[in-house]
């Protein structure tokens, strides 16, 4: 079974939920085929499952290069890819760029990991010095590196400690007014020198953290879902209590191993 099929199974909206549902949340996964390596599919899986557990109805749109962009989008996710994957999506990204920028300006929550984080920045400068323009939604610039930055990471963020795994060769610098997603407690982060990891502008988050990042950090998942729910329904988020015992134990054990 392909990853794509897995994702559509996971996300199938249950029709009998519709009557009792608190609302429908449209999730768009950008380029699941080209840009979903390192288990980033798990973020989509986590979001759709938690949306359902909170009493809402998820509808998952898989956006592939060349396809029309979904008309309704409340929450966007993107993952890491290989260089070949990035090359495959660049043309489409140019076509949907204005739509993505206006969704970001409207406050639609987005989580862009690794390669898609880089593409959401101003530019990626290759080792050879070639400047590849990005969407400019996040004020960051990434310089290609010969050396990869690889290993487990712990961050301090607005939603508490966040654990994950980084694996990138790009070294990212934040623009003057750009906030990071988190502060590195263990690991390398954006560039290994300024202690920052990722970037956050409004409700758009870019980060290098795989893991995948959402399952083990449910507070982050729920903060994205909460914003999406408010935008989808026009009402405040009405969360349901969740059983996050495994996630909390998995996370705190990593924090204990790496930081304390």
């Amino acid at each position: 079974m392909t990853q794509t099929e897995l994702a559509s199974q996971t996300a199938a909206a249950l029709p009998d939920d519709a009557g009792r549902s608190k609302g429908t949340i449209h999730v768009v996964h950008l380029y699941p085929r080209e840009m979903s390596i390192y288990g980033d599919l798990g973020n989509t899986r986590c979001l759709t499952a938690r949306i359902r557990r909170h009493g809402y109805t998820p509808v998952l749109h898989q956006h592939h290069p060349g396809a029309p962009f979904p008309e309704v989008a409340h929450l966007l996710v993107g993952g890491g890819g290989q260089d070949s994957g990035q090359a495959r999506v660049e043309d489409d990204l140019a076509l949907v760029a204005d739509r993505l920028r206006s969704l970001a300006a409207d406050g639609v929550p987005m989580l862009m990991i690794c390669g898609m984080y880089q593409l959401f920045g101003n530019a990626f400068i290759t080792v050879a010095g070639q400047r590849l323009p990005g969407l400019g939604i996040l004020d960051v610039t990434t310089q290609g590196n010969a050396k990869r930055m690889v290993g487990p990471v712990v961050l301090r963020t607005d939603v508490g400690e966040v654990v994950g795994y980084e694996n990138h060769s790009g070294s990212t610098t934040l623009g003057a007014g750009q906030s990071p997603f988190g502060t590195v407690l263990s690991g390398i982060g954006n560039n290994g020198t300024d202690g920052t990891e990722g970037a956050r502008s409004g409700n758009v988050i870019g980060s290098y953290l795989h893991g995948p990042v959402l399952p083990a950090n449910p507070a982050l998942a729920d903060s994205l879902i909460g914003i999406a729910a408010e935008q989808a329904t026009g009402r405040p988020f009405e969360p349901e209590p969740q059983d996050d015992a495994f996630a909390d134990e998995a996370r705190t054990r990593q924090v204990r191993r790496l930081v304390r």
Partner: protein, 437 residues
Amino acid sequence: MLRTTTAVLAGRAARLATRLRGSGSALPGLVAERVDPRFLARTLAHLPHGIVVVSGTNGKTTTTKMLAALLRAHGLRVFSNPTGSNFTRGVISSMLREVPLSGRLSADVAVLELDEAHALRFAATVRPTHALLLNVARDQLDRFAEIDHTAALLARLAEQVTTGVVLNLDDPFVSRIGAEAGDGVEVRYFGVDASIADRLPELQEQDVRFAEAAPPVAPRATDGLLKPHDERSFEVRFGAEAEGGRVGPLELQQRGLAAMINATAAATTARMLLGDRFDAGCAAQALREVRPPFGRGEVVMVDGEPLELVLVKNPAGFTVALGTYGSTPVATMIAVNDNYADGRDVSWLYDVSFESLRERGVALTSGVRAYDIALRLQYDDVPVGAVEPDLARALARFLEEHPAEPRRVFCTYTAMMSLRRDLAARYDLPGIGEEAS
């Protein structure tokens, strides 16, 4: 010569020392390599039937074992690295057991399992005569960074080969390499018969490097194709209509489609190496007798009931393992560590579907990342009985709570080694790193 003799002696001493300490199998090789950097080349030179490197992401150990068995059944003396210690130093370490002090190996052919990066390093010292390239899948991306990079490593390995390469017809990352083999190097393929082509997606990665699909390769009479008859029985056909002959029907001791494909790859390569000496009946019998390498569907009897250890290390492998064993649900434990040899990034668990375990559930999760795999299972609605990160305690509890039924443990590499050590101590099993032949 003196240097080589010294290297052999130093390496053997290190081997004895590590065995006494009960640790890894690469250190003796490291010692010998330090004393004589050309040790490997010197020792392998002049093997009459050449040096065969088996590489790719999944199935190296199983396929190497099958190929060695096929060649031995045809009367060749085979040097191999059977411990799953598939780095260059591991090869030297295994060699130290077999070489006289002159350093000249008394074998007809070497069949070596090497991972992609180490295969290239090896080829820089000793040019292989043949290479069998199995597949490219996501595996320990923290080591190889990218699938495309791994594919490029295999292509460069193929360029180093002097005589012949055998490639996976169905894996575009590998089949494309055929165009890059050097002048005078013969290219053969192994693959699956058209009747089961629909099962390939479960084994393969998406190749998004090119806008166009790889050009199809029409199998010739020297290319081996897997034709299954049922879940266990299959034959290898040479050529689409078996115009080049067939091996089987036969059943392997190891279950599953992946093992059948490995057997097809091994048979195709053996036929290339042996030429007219290749005997289909002899080959079928040799494949029937190959025992699963440890941790690859190995069954251990514990208190009169089978306990199966299944090594899992990447999404394709885990998915195949679940597909292979999912049809007979048994008591299940999953143990995940995140040491270097396991792959330090456990993200890949989210690229495996665990739905086949939903009905029966998973009794216990264990290992350093016990809670991460429990969390992963929760997202597939697979019930988890308990979480016990300590492997020894988890194994004891698993065996105690499931005494009178078949049991299965899916485990990452270092978790498997730890569980085996534990089992060996308690149930008189063959020692770690030694073949249960």
